[in-house]
Symmetry: C2
Subunit: 397 residues, 2 copies
Amino acid sequence: MTDFTATKALFDLPEGIIYLDGNSLGPLPRATAARVAQTITAEWGQMLITGWNKAGWMDKPMHVGDRIARLIGAETGHVVMGDTLSIKVYQALASCLEMTPTRRVILSDTGNFPSDLYMAEGLCRTLGQGYQLKTVAPEDVLEAIDDSVAVLMITEVDYRTGRRHNMAELTARAHEKGALAIWDLAHSAGAFQVEVAAGGADFAVGCTYKYLNSGPGGPAFIYVAPRHADRAIPALSGWQGHEAPFAFDLSYRPATGAERLRVGTPPILQLAALEASLDIWDAVDMTALRKASLALTDRFITGIEAACPTLSLATPRDHDARGSQVSFRHPEGYAIMQAMIARGVIGDFRAPDIIRCGFTPLFIDAGDVDRAVEIIVDIMQNNLWDRPDYKTRAKVT
Amino acid sequence: MTDFTATKALFDLPEGIIYLDGNSLGPLPRATAARVAQTITAEWGQMLITGWNKAGWMDKPMHVGDRIARLIGAETGHVVMGDTLSIKVYQALASCLEMTPTRRVILSDTGNFPSDLYMAEGLCRTLGQGYQLKTVAPEDVLEAIDDSVAVLMITEVDYRTGRRHNMAELTARAHEKGALAIWDLAHSAGAFQVEVAAGGADFAVGCTYKYLNSGPGGPAFIYVAPRHADRAIPALSGWQGHEAPFAFDLSYRPATGAERLRVGTPPILQLAALEASLDIWDAVDMTALRKASLALTDRFITGIEAACPTLSLATPRDHDARGSQVSFRHPEGYAIMQAMIARGVIGDFRAPDIIRCGFTPLFIDAGDVDRAVEIIVDIMQNNLWDRPDYKTRAKVT
């Protein structure tokens, strides 16, 4: 059983802040700075080029991937780190389209994170030949899976509403119709126990700088189901995914398994930061995490709804249909979030009207929820958000 | 005039090592660890999500790109950081092919770094429709540029031989024949003053962990000529290259200029490491650098050739046809390099027979060259390389 009072002490949280934005950028583990400094001075500084062997840099994308594998229910050896989530989406999509050559439709939903849609759009444009991205409302996805669909590309938890799709059900339907399924776990990995293998996912992708606390720009991951691992030919066929990168052959031959999804030189400093965070994650009981997360989100919903009638809940009440965030809608959501931030409650705003708060039991407890509710209630009951300076939008919101 | 004795003191070089592999992984600047620690603790730790605005993280890919621009002779605002070199090659290639829709050939040479060729091969496979990669010997490139060529993709300095192509001449020929030209500056940026604008390059790409000392897995850069900047539609169309990423539109609209070549969330820790190194580079007089580099490479060639008749020079003697490395061929090159490393002279081996040594005046001086020559001469004259343990190959060589 994980002791979440103990895990909270492992994070460096600024004084006076209640951080409900770990689902956008996770906070800093106390061990990270020293870990990265060690990689810089003792590894890079002293080993220089020999660090690729001596410090194990070359194997890190697969080794670190194995630590992510537990959190997402993947088979060992089938998750590899690298690049950004958008790049990994592109790789998964291109592989799936190649495996379903007679079909032309990528199916997604309008709740998907826009970058996934943009990458799909770009791939379709590059491919030509009638390839197209089709999007439907999140609740209409199941019905929209038909024989024209080559691949279903879904983000499991909606970045705005926190609504959670049923991975097993949608994937089963996709397979029944002869389509493949790619799952984006950006808001799932570290939010609850994901089950990519049991859920039948063909590919899964995700980022590590949200719930997994790897820091700004931390590397993404990609999972490929064992049945495809030696079959999928990477569209982004870089040398690190070659069977023998240091043979410097002139022609590409994919490496065995998930390793073929590597592209270029791995970001060793960002990986070191991720490893420091995974030292915490390795010990987390995911059942306990989910239980604590649901208790926090329920507590927040109850507290806000009891006193703020103008905030309208965007997140499903049903536990099974929810991730680890709670979102409320309000036409002045942007200004309200600025007022919250000014009072030390950091969440984020998502256009057009979403106030989004993430709850991570690793560093958020019931007392934090109660204080956040108290502050939001004060802001709403006294219209403290109604100031011109709260309505001026920053570049990143 | 740059004082290279002073710059040498800015690097943390291990005692007793002569590091001739800065062209593979540059050594650690003394200021890097503190700079990265500051980014981790004061920015990520204290600002959390607000770091994207407050610490300027969101603008770093363009701001840092402007510091690279001087080194490669690019116009300000036309270089952007991100991803790996292989990904940037893919973006440049896809953009060029889209701008030359009636042609099907990517022309490169057999001296190009294999990953560039692999990415081209993968793109051709994805595109189908008769797209093909054609490679010729490095000295045959000029003649091979004909009306079938859509895009010329060349690494300016050959990673094995150190042979330098004539960017202006090849680019002019490409343009004359109606083709575009992409230059990979992996072994040029920081080796000498590159002139992408004056040389007419359409795109240029490069990495920062070699001569530019950004550390293992540092981000790549991409340059797009101003005449194409608002015309090239990125194949890898991620949200960070969107005109308004935080509007979360469902459809992609490219940002203005080079910024559209951004893909996903930038690697802030790796960028911080690069910035620490660029603090040194900003003050380097590139004419003085080139002069010092040629003096070092000449000195090394002269020293080795005078005493090691079995080592055969692979690098051109002509200054204009050379980068900042010197390579010798020997059938037992791998074992010779292991013997050198055992004696503290770190270069690298490149299959099948290349002993490669990079010379960076920022931290290598004439005394280092003389000591390296002395050690290599001892190894060669006394066959000290002829040991079974030096012939067993490591994963990364």
